[in-house]
Symmetry: C2
Subunit: 210 residues, 2 copies
């Protein structure tokens, strides 16, 4: 039997990463996120730093700028080799290939990277969205990442807006809209452990409903 | 211990009503939907037929028309008594009172009526959204409601757009956005029985996480 693939999309500070790691531990799976970026870097021929810096910034406005002006923005122009690769084969499509390869070869939990959309036709992939109440997200950012409460609120807004723009641009769908995921959970309501149990149970239902 | 309140919002044809009825049966709760409308009618002084015909139509555009022209649209003008009641106390706020009364007095499953939003501060209320793949919704409408496939597709679009407009207008939030519910499930992925089990399990997690 093919092993589970759990694709987790999440609001910043919702505990989605922690939930993903616990689900992976419970089901004996590997977690991919930054590691995945490094694999993409290797596959696409970019440096890991370049990909990490730019993969969330490949928005419509950037591509529009390149198309209309024929010139590259300063942050991209300094790396001509990478820019050439970008035009020939985008970071996103290189990532998509790595994600599809992974899903073919092994069971895994993939955090972010539009994996739920990329694997939407894989009958073994459960697509999850994790959100939380604002005060809990701020609280988590203060405790875990060392932000002040005011800075945390700003960072949550900035990161979620970046994630939404990236998702909406690459998928043509709306980030956080229930129709684009199999199960969406509010971690403030169920707790981290509660979400983990519900995701494992949901995966079992997905398999038994096929 | 206070009994569960399960508020279910759903796409037309997703099986949300059936899921709500099974959850109610499993937890020994009463289901409210049309019955609720009759209670509202009684409480608000409108006829049940009037409320049923108009409660989804009380949109911004209607209220705008009344405000700007000072006159009532033809479908409303024929019932002057009801129109007077509408201006004094909207159908929606009468429904909200009934829903809060119910949640205070007994455990129940409430289908539609923005109940999840109205009861958002009730710690015993689980707010659920049920969606499904388009082909499954069409299939259900054909089998259960006797539509042709083409008519079913149109009806799904019309009903969901009506529901979204009603919800967005009264709550100031977006219908179907994961952030507005505690758990969202795709019934095509988990099946009707799978969704019922996951909702019951989610309610148990909500209680144990308090």
């Amino acid at each position: 039997m093919k092993k589970p693939i759990i694709a987790i999309s999440r609001e910043f500070g919702s505990g989605g990463r922690m939930i993903g790691e616990s689900v992976a531990k419970k089901l004996g799976l590997t977690v991919y996120d930054k590691t995945l970026i490094e694999m993409v870097a290797e596959k696409g021929g970019y440096s890991a730093d370049f990909v990490e810096e730019n993969d969330q910034r490949l928005t419509k406005s950037l591509l529009f700028q390149i198309a209309v002006t024929g010139s590259l923005p300063p942050w991209l122009a300094k790396d001509a080799g990478a820019a050439e690769g970008l035009i020939g084969k985008s970071v996103f499509s290189a990532q998509s290939e790595v994600i599809k390869d992974l899903a073919e070869k092994c069971g895994c939990v993939i955090i972010g990277r539009c994996a739920g959309h990329i694997l939407k036709d894989d009958p073994n992939c459960l697509s999850v969205f994790i959100g939380a109440e604002t005060e809990d997200k701020i609280d988590r950012c203060v405790k875990e990442y060392g932000f002040t409460p005011a800075a945390a609120a700003g960072e949550i807004k900035r990161r979620d807006s970046e994630r939404a723009e990236h998702y909406n641009h690459h998928t043509g769908k709306m980030w956080g809209n229930a129709a684009n995921y199999h199960i969406c959970l509010n971690s403030s309501v169920f707790g981290i452990g509660g979400c983990v149990d519900l995701i494992v149970e949901a995966y079992n239902k997905l398999v038994s409903n096929k």
